[in-house]
């Protein structure tokens, strides 16, 4: 099951502490971690609410632990303030959102790609985020393990944006041997370092993290601060520095972060999709090609930071782009903006929201656009 693969991916990624609150359709991740983490000297804490889960995980991360917070959309809604806190004080942490039907309590067991912009814009203020979109149980494992390395490397929250389909999907998953999995560790200042002498925050090339318990006497505040953690609430240039350095820490390294999978050489029309819907898009491309149609695909693996360069390149090389999402069009405006009139960009939701697109329905749409 995708959710079990996700939990195993977390352990393979070195997870040492996880916290969560029961929620459909993500609960199996917590169930698996509660059993498995103590076996590897870790612990899963079931908290009193989702707010407590993200806070406990951030606290644990500041002691040097690799931390994980599995949940679904309503849980993320409760966590958003403190996800912004994690961004502001540069805390490595991995979150998975097994998206369900919303708005509000919605339809817990149904899959919808309804929260795609939430990690990017959900918390208040200006910030950048990293989010991956698994398309299979195997990728629930791979992306979750990889998310830990991204979080540690860039001292930032990283999202795995699954949905109920992927979370509850049963498919073969290959778990590599432990020595085949690359583990990236965060930088930590050398013992005895005077924090007034080095940058420990707001470095675009990622400052070492002055974790607790090592005698650094770290002052950690999410209020506007300088490179040493000193609060500054009165100088607009300090705020500008605070915002821009945090954003650039991600944007400057976007080439190392952004991944897409594409196959569209010589194509007239390209389908853009991610997550569960990308499975249907790729199959529709295969069927359309067998009928002789010049159709390709671009699968978004990293939703955020937005693969702007990849979409711009695409728009320069093809006439038409069709964005498929199991929602009312959340990622589509970003694709259209990046294509910037260089190609015609259309959007195709499923016939019924909450269902992945029917193959014949997509092939018909392709035929209609090619003619």
């Amino acid at each position: 099951m995708g959710n079990v693969a996700c939990a195993e991916g977390a352990i393979a990624g070195g997870c040492e502490f996880a916290a969560g609150y029961p929620i459909t359709p993500a609960s199996e991740i917590g169930h698996t971690l509660a059993k498995r983490l103590p076996e590897v000297d870790g612990y899963f804490l079931q908290t009193e609410d989702e707010i407590s889960a993200i806070c406990a995980a951030i606290g644990a991360s500041w002691t040097g632990k690799r931390v994980f917070v599995p949940t679904s959309g309503p849980g993320i809604s409760l966590m958003l303030e403190n996800i912004g806190f994690a961004v502001g004080i540069e805390t490595p942490c991995v979150l998975v959102n097994v998206q369900r039907g919303g708005p509000t309590t919605g339809a817990p067991s149904m899959g919808l790609q309804g929260d795609m912009v939430q990690p990017r814009r959900g918390s208040h203020g200006e910030y950048e985020i990293v989010a991956l979109c698994p398309s299979s149980p195997q990728e629930m494992f791979d992306h979750t393990a990889q998310a830990f390395n991204l979080a540690e490397r860039y001292r930032t929250p990283v999202f795995v944006m699954a949905d109920a389909f992927i979370g509850h999907m049963r498919e073969e998953v290959t778990i590599p041997e432990a020595d085949e999995i690359e583990i990236t560790y965060r930088k930590i200042p050398e013992e005895g370092t005077d924090l007034s002498k080095i940058k420990v925050f707001l470095d675009e090339d990622v400052a070492p993290m002055p974790i607790f318990g090592r005698g650094f006497k770290s002052h950690v505040t999410s209020s506007c601060h300088d490179e040493h953690g000193n609060r500054n609430l009165i100088d607009p240039t300090a705020l500008d520095n605070f915002i821009q350095r945090l954003r650039n820490k991600i944007l400057k390294h976007r080439d190392e972060i952004v991944q897409v999978e594409s196959d569209y050489d010589g194509c007239e029309l390209v389908l853009v999709a991610y997550g569960a819907v990308a499975r249907c898009a790729k199959e529709a491309v295969r069927v359309a090609r067998s009928k002789g149609m010049p159709v390709g695909y671009l699968r978004v693996i990293t939703a955020w930071p937005f693969p702007d360069r990849e979409v711009r390149d695409l728009s320069e090389r093809v006439k038409k782009i069709l964005v498929l999402e199991n929602n009312a069009g959340q990622y589509y405006p970003y694709v259209r903006a990046s294509a910037a009139e260089r190609a015609e960009v259309a959007f195709l939701p499923p016939e019924i929201l909450g269902q992945v697109h029917r193959l014949e329905y997509v092939v018909e749409k392709i035929e209609e656009m090619i003619q």
Binding site: D41, A56, V220, T221
Partner: protein, 276 residues
């Protein structure tokens, strides 16, 4: 400049030159009692991780204490402290915050941390009002008191924090006023040494907001009022609920032993890994 330094100055961050507290604020007393307790126990700041929330009392430790300090979001310091303590069980974790932070927006975390009996010290400076944001009514404001958001008087009942935390399962609970710094310091020392969830409530004067808005007066009047109205837990037990209505019940509410969460987690890990 005098070369004489306050004996507790060594515990403060060298860059700190002034306090952010208003004149007459009780938070300075709380700050000094915490540092005295640490000093008298012969501990050092590296033995601790301090966590605070949002509000005036959160500034008691941030940025003042020269230690690992996490200044968190409103209401959540105990939730952050839970993750820190579970991951650094060998360190003392101390949360210092106000009544609004810990019992209104953060009330859920307070009762659940007490229930879990996770070892940490929580010091709640209770001034009965939201000071930093301009004197709004709090869950701890006396009924009928006039505040900026209850200009006609508060209609709501008041939280009796310490008995609530005791009922939630804390293994050490004490309440003092800023008029009792010696007793307060002694309680903080006991709380630091407690293997369990230890809660110390400090009734603390806010002359600028509470005093001015409710008519309680200045710092001196409020401290005199604390002295006049304070009665011991033992004496309160001999009085009727009506008789103690206007009193401040001070002293130790509970000092007991229960399984502590971090020790239980360590035991669980040993058992699961076949070493227990």
């Amino acid at each position: 400049m005098s070369s004489v330094q306050h004996p507790l100055r060594k515990y403060l961050r060298p860059s700190v030159e002034a306090t952010t507290f208003c004149p007459g604020c009780g938070d300075g007393t709380v700050l000094q009692c915490i540092l005295r307790a640490i000093d008298e126990l012969g501990m050092i700041m590296d033995d601790f991780v301090f966590v605070s929330g949002i509000g005036c009392a959160a500034w008691i430790i941030s940025p003042n204490f020269n230690a690992d300090v996490l200044h968190t979001t409103h209401g959540r310091p105990i939730a952050f402290a839970t993750g820190i303590k579970l991951s650094l069980p060998e360190k003392k974790v101390m949360v210092v915050s106000g009544d609004g932070d810990l019992t209104a927006i953060g009330g859920n975390h307070l009762i659940h941390a007490a229930r879990r009996n996770i070892e940490m010290v929580v010091i709640c400076a209770n001034n009965g009002i939201y000071g930093m944001t301009g004197g709004q009514v709090a869950p701890t404001t006396p009924r009928e008191a006039r505040t900026i958001t209850t200009p006609h008087g508060s209609l709501e009942n008041t939280f009796d924090i310490s008995p609530m935390v005791q009922a939630a399962g804390a293994t050490y609970v004490a309440r003092w006023t800023t008029h009792q710094p010696r007793q307060l310091t002694k309680s903080i020392k006991k709380a630091i040494q407690k293997k369990g969830f230890a809660f110390v409530e400090v009734i603390s004067q806010c002359p600028v907001q509470f005093g001015a808005k409710t008519g309680a007066g200045g710092a001196v009047e409020m401290l005199e009022m604390y002295r006049e109205r304070s009665i011991s837990v033992k004496k309160a037990g001999e009085m009727s609920p009506q008789e103690i209505e206007d009193k401040i019940v001070t002293g130790e509410f509970v000092d007991t032993v229960k399984p502590e969460l971090c020790e239980e987690v360590a035991r669980l890990k040993k058992k699961v890994r076949g070493k227990g």
